[in-house]
Symmetry: C2
Subunit: 756 residues, 2 copies
């Protein structure tokens, strides 16, 4: 077990590495050449342009103004300066609410930490069990933890009371936060400009009709059943193949540009490529000619496919976007059942056009339920048996394994230095690669489950990833052993023994989790702000592909907040904080530092970097809330298990009340707030309708909605025709029509190097 | 363990007792004096009248026609003769679907029994483990059960395959039945006559408004938010106190009539009564004078209260019945959320007027959630600790207990005969009384939970009662011991051991459950048709209270199918059947006899006796379906546990698939059918609206709906004023407008003694 010294050393190392990342970031972000990596959001918004006209050419790449380097910490206060309403306006409600999760962490844990250090630490410290047992090696941290209190002591009363305080405080904070987020969401939806999805409902599982086309069938159905309200509808084309062709065309185009650039730089030698897989084998050909030819081929192919999709009635899937004359009518249609067969004519709120996941719009009910079953089984096996393929690959990646499979490498790997690298790093790297793949696999599973919007896919994957992390990282660290071994153990233990087994291990693992928080949390956040991968990719693209300003625009990849990956990881810190606050409060400051640091960094990122693909108006909050509640309940059960091994017999009935109350609190909050995230109330719809009718009596809504929901591959053509100005307007992200005063304000908040 | 002989004897005894009941029933039902006990439904419908005018007076009381006695079994084929559409018309869909549960039992178990006797019985019989172990005492029944198969035998493959067959057959039957019931429900709703609840929505939690009354507030809100559709509304008065006064008045009136009748029969002595509790103590007074006086007092009190309720604005609760111009609009309002605060302006389908539970219409959201929590805890304690008060009362009711509490009884209870009665019967009677009270207690719990319709109260209580029976009767019989001891044991055992512990005990308990089926099932059903309690009560009332024909009408108590009590008990037979069909198929014939017998009896009862209070259009079917599924899953887990103790190591993975598939099947059915029981599709509403508009263009809907939803105590006054003819018309049960031909047909189905 690690002592205070060990922890201090580890903290210093991690702090230094975090500091190194931060320094590198502070330096690199001031270089104009990196401007598009560290401030892409402003470029996307059109507020910032490449520094091309003014000053000498060196200044275009390197920042020579020394004063700016002295104030390189300024991005932190700058990130905090933008007020929240403006932040919502600038980055969208999703992002603004996402960083509130970190704030929630601070709100929960700062008061608990103060109380715990004031009450529990003295109680534990003076418990002096560990002093009495001379044989035991223990560290000072353990003297601060519950391990130092003798069995059966009355001191445990303090821990029980503390558990109550933690529960009530957490619930109170969660309630307040749910209330705030709900209000923000409702206000956001009420103040939103006109959007196509407000008037539109996604209709799925349109039954086949022998006499009518899908389009006619939809029109007739809604004309009959919503006679006063139906306006128009758009059918959905199965353009998945076309979309693939478009992607392929883009890639071929990029390759051609790349080889052309290479040829221009070095005109002596025409670049060659191979026709096989990834250009690795096959016949060598002239690269530029090859890609030009391929490009032309694919353009023809695409045109044929496009023609086919538009003319073939079989390319129309049995789903449609139906628009209504008012928001009220759309709200009505989305919330009601249309026919007596609940598997046909399914209506739901249309996601906003950018949020639609087009591949999943046409899955019949039976197929969907079968897919869900298979995916549930797949997820179960992934969670509990994912160590098996890893162990297999690790055995292959060992010295013996490599010698067997690739015998010609034998002389190389016999070298001592190579050997030690393989033995020391390879298994770890294999594990890391597998772990990094997990969110992608989970997203694939969610996609197969048939969700129709990107935002719901994100939420669903996040839920799965949380369970995965809970089983494999949290329980996996406490009860060392693979997940299926845990499962086996749990199945063989009695339900009342499981909290005991885990609970007893909790205080012993405190130092491990402190290290985990520093490595994964602190350093991870610092790496986040540094953006190493986008930095490299941008410069590669900039070197080889960018020719025009528009190319550079396309090479600018702001990325987005990956909710499905970030949020579940974040929830682990809530879980750790809640568990250790009554057991080893020494862990809390580390978590608080993480939350505070992450809050600043992510606030900076959403202001300057990330550009969200869609806006779901914080639809994820019920999930966040639920997962914190799950963490709270786990912490209560584990404390119960821990105390029952400490001969505090009467603690169980006292502590069993807490999970019951917590579950009740969850149900209460669900009833009170959740529907604001699922349904759209008629009153609000009516108010907006009335207002709009008064202010814009001559609005041609039909024209406005006509082409709102067309597959992006068809849209792309129009945009190409119309030019980028139209693109900006048809972009339905949060409106960027800010007046000039506010524009300059936010630009200063963005801390461009010129301003400093 | 009981042998075949024991079972045969027990079966004979139970058959004889059932036969005695049936004979008594066959005899008594032919007596005209009991006509109103055994054919009350026909009286309620006005098709049958008391035999008062024709024939000699003896014939009014006793049936002297011998021929009818010879054909006394005729009621059985007669009960089966009425075709289902007519049955639905006559008794309502609820009753018609309820008896389909018995039919479902037959559909599931008859093929399984045939298969099991064809396959499993030979496999078990030739297993001959029990023959080899000479020491063990065993019965022939055990030779037919799984106990007779040696451990690790390949014969268990037959049981595993059988488990698959049972699962698939049960699921198939359940699916078919769900489909049929859904179709019936939809057809019933579509063919229904105009009813107030089709146009009406119950609005609860109307927020208080400082400037407006509830009535105005409701009107304004719906005028604004449903401008084209709002028609009218009715506020709800808090008339609970008034209803109590009306009840009290009725009771006092009955007592006065009783004493007057007594006085008239014996004019020499004026009856006396005591003023205290239940007339047991207090001052002796002249009974007739006393009750006349009391009656007048209460009439005044009632008038004052009625005045107060109608004029006091505080007597209006924040709830209302809002009616719309069309069924479509009502369907829309019921299915949508009205405001951004989901705890205000809650809308739901209005129950039909007779189905409203008036006491619960005005509970605020927070109060409701707190009540639900408390009731969940109360239900938990009732289920798991209900043996404690029973044990306490039983200890009081023992010889020693009685001697201590009531020492003056000592000489009496020292007698040997009294002693043996107390020791032998008293504990059993105490348990019976407590068990009989359970449904009432559960109904009270459900009422406190705040449901707003009688049908939903019934469904909710049924759910609770099922859990109670599962824990206390099923598991209580298998693992002997009180429920909280079971709980303790289960908490200390591992999850994989629980099915083992229970599974091993299953074959041993077969004979016990066979006896249970005969005593509780066969004899219980025979007692059901005999109607002992209503018979006694009717004759008491007839003797002491009935003076006019209208009094006799009121004394006729048809009762109703008590879904909350009957259905959960019935589910126990499904559970037993599913569990034993792979273990001891010998139990199946007993269950099949029960289902067949119960089907005939209940078909007779719903045709001739029961008069349902409300019509929910089979809204309970999803619950029935779910509980059969629960039974199926329990049976699969127990078989898994049982086989794992028989050294059939590889059976677990083979059998674990079954519960997963079953749960998936349940979800599939839920998605496919359940919404037909919860929501009203817009298309169906529109069709009915259009049809009505075409056939009755001048309908004054507002007048029709004006007084549909007034509290029954106010209605009673109007009925009193208008006379009994209006009563018949305002009765919203299934319409009884049958033409004369059909009337005579159904009367013959009812088998009146005159017809035979």
């Amino acid at each position: 077990m690690a002592s205070v010294q060990d922890i201090t050393v580890s903290a210093c190392i991690n702090l230094l590495s975090a500091l190194a990342f931060l320094l590198a970031f502070a330096f690199l972000r001031l270089q104009p050449i990196n401007d598009r990596v560290y401030f892409p959001k402003w470029y996307k918004k059109g507020i910032r342009a490449s520094p091309r006209s003014s000053g000498p050419s060196v200044k275009k790449f390197v920042n020579l103004d020394c004063r700016t380097y002295l104030r390189f910490w300024n991005w932190m206060p700058a990130a905090l300066r933008m007020p929240e309403p403006e932040l919502i306006d600038h980055a969208g409600l999703d992002s603004a609410v996402y960083i509130r999760i970190y704030l929630l962490g601070l709100k929960i844990f700062v008061p608990i930490a103060i109380l715990a250090f004031g009450v529990l630490v003295p109680v534990n410290w003076t418990g002096s069990t560990l002093d009495d047992i001379k044989d035991l090696t223990y560290s000072d941290i353990d003297k601060l933890s519950i391990s130092n209190v003798p069995s059966g002591s009355l001191r445990f009363l303090a821990h029980i009371i503390m558990a109550y305080v933690i529960t009530f405080w957490t619930c109170y904070t969660l309630y307040k936060e749910y209330q705030i987020v709900t209000t923000k969401r409702l206000r956001f939806l009420a103040s939103e400009n006109r959007r196509p999805n407000q008037f539109t409902v996604l209709v799925r599982n349109v039954p086949p009709d022998p006499d009518e086309s899908v389009s006619h069938h939809v029109e007739h159905f809604f004309c009959v059943n919503h006679p006063d309200n139906y306006l128009t509808h758009q059918v959905v084309y199965n353009a998945n193949k076309l979309a693939k062709l478009v992607d392929k065309k883009k890639s071929l185009h990029n390759w051609r540009t790349y080889y052309q650039t290479r040829y221009e730089r070095n005109p002596k030698k025409r670049p060659q490529t191979k026709t096989g897989f990834w250009g690795l084998w096959g016949k060598s050909v002239d690269a530029i000619d090859y890609y030009t030819e391929e490009n032309e081929k694919i353009i023809e192919e695409e045109a044929a496919e496009r023609e086919k999709v538009m003319s073939d009635p079989k390319a129309i899937v049995p789903a449609a976007f139906v628009s209504f004359k008012s928001r009220w009518a759309a709200a009505v249609c989305a919330q009601t059942q249309q026919t007596s067969n609940p598997t046909l004519w399914l209506t739901e709120w249309a996601p906003e056009p950018d949020d639609v996941y087009w591949d999943n719009l046409a899955i019949p009910f039976v197929e969907l339920t079968v897919k869900r079953l298979l995916m549930a089984v797949a997820f179960f096996f992934l969670t509990f048996f994912f160590m098996i393929p890893i162990a297999f690959v690790q055995s292959l990646a060992s010295i013996d394994g490599i010698q067997k499979v690739l015998p010609f490498l034998k002389p190389l790997i016999q070298k001592e230095s190579v050997k030690s690298v393989i033995q020391g790093f390879l298994p770890g790297i294999v594990l890391k690669i597998f772990l990094a793949l997990v969110p992608t696999i989970l997203m694939t599973i969610s996609k197969i489950e048939g969700l129709t919007s990107l935002s719901s896919l994100d939420r669903r994957s996040a839920g799965k990833y949380y369970l995965f992390l809970l089983v494999n990282v949290f329980f996996g660290s406490i009860i060392t052993g693979a997940a299926f071994q845990q499962l086996q153990r749990f199945l063989k233990q009695s339900p009342s023994d499981i909290p005991k087994t885990v609970g007893v291990a909790i205080p012993l693992k405190a130092t491990f989790f402190i290290t985990y928080i520093m490595v994964d949390g602190w350093a991870g956040i610092a790496a986040e702000v540094f953006r190493l991968v986008p930095l490299i990719i941008f410069h590669l693209k900039n070197t080889f592909l960018v020719k025009t300003e528009q190319d550079r625009e396309e090479a600018t990849d702001p990325g987005c907040l990956n909710f499905a990956t970030y949020e579940p990881r974040l929830q682990l810190y809530f879980l750790l904080g809640l568990i250790y606050s009554a057991v080893t409060p020494f862990l809390l400051p580390f978590i608080i530092v993480f939350f505070a640091f992450a809050y600043v960094v992510f606030r900076h990122q959403i202001i300057n970097v990330y550009d969200q693909k869609y806006e779901s108006a914080a639809a994820f909050w019920p999930d966040v809330h639920r997962r914190v509640i799950i963490g709270l309940i786990i912490s209560q059960l584990l404390l119960m298990g821990l105390l029952s091994t400490k001969s505090v017999a009467k603690s169980t009935p006292l502590l069993i009340i807490l999970p019951i109350l917590t579950i009740w609190f969850h149900r209460f909050c669900k009833g009170r707030f959740e529907s604001a995230f699922k349904k759209f109330p008629l009153q609000d719809a009516k108010i907006k309708d009335t207002l709009e009718r008064a202010t814009e009596p001559n609005l041609n809504l039909k024209a406005y909605l006509q082409d709102a929901y067309i597959h992006p591959v068809f849209k792309a053509v129009e945009i190409e025709k119309l030019g980028p100005v139209e693109d900006e307007e048809s972009n339905t992200l949060v409106s960027t029509k800010r007046n000039s005063r506010r524009g300059s304000q936010t630009a200063s908040a963005g801390m461009s190097p010129e301003d400093v």
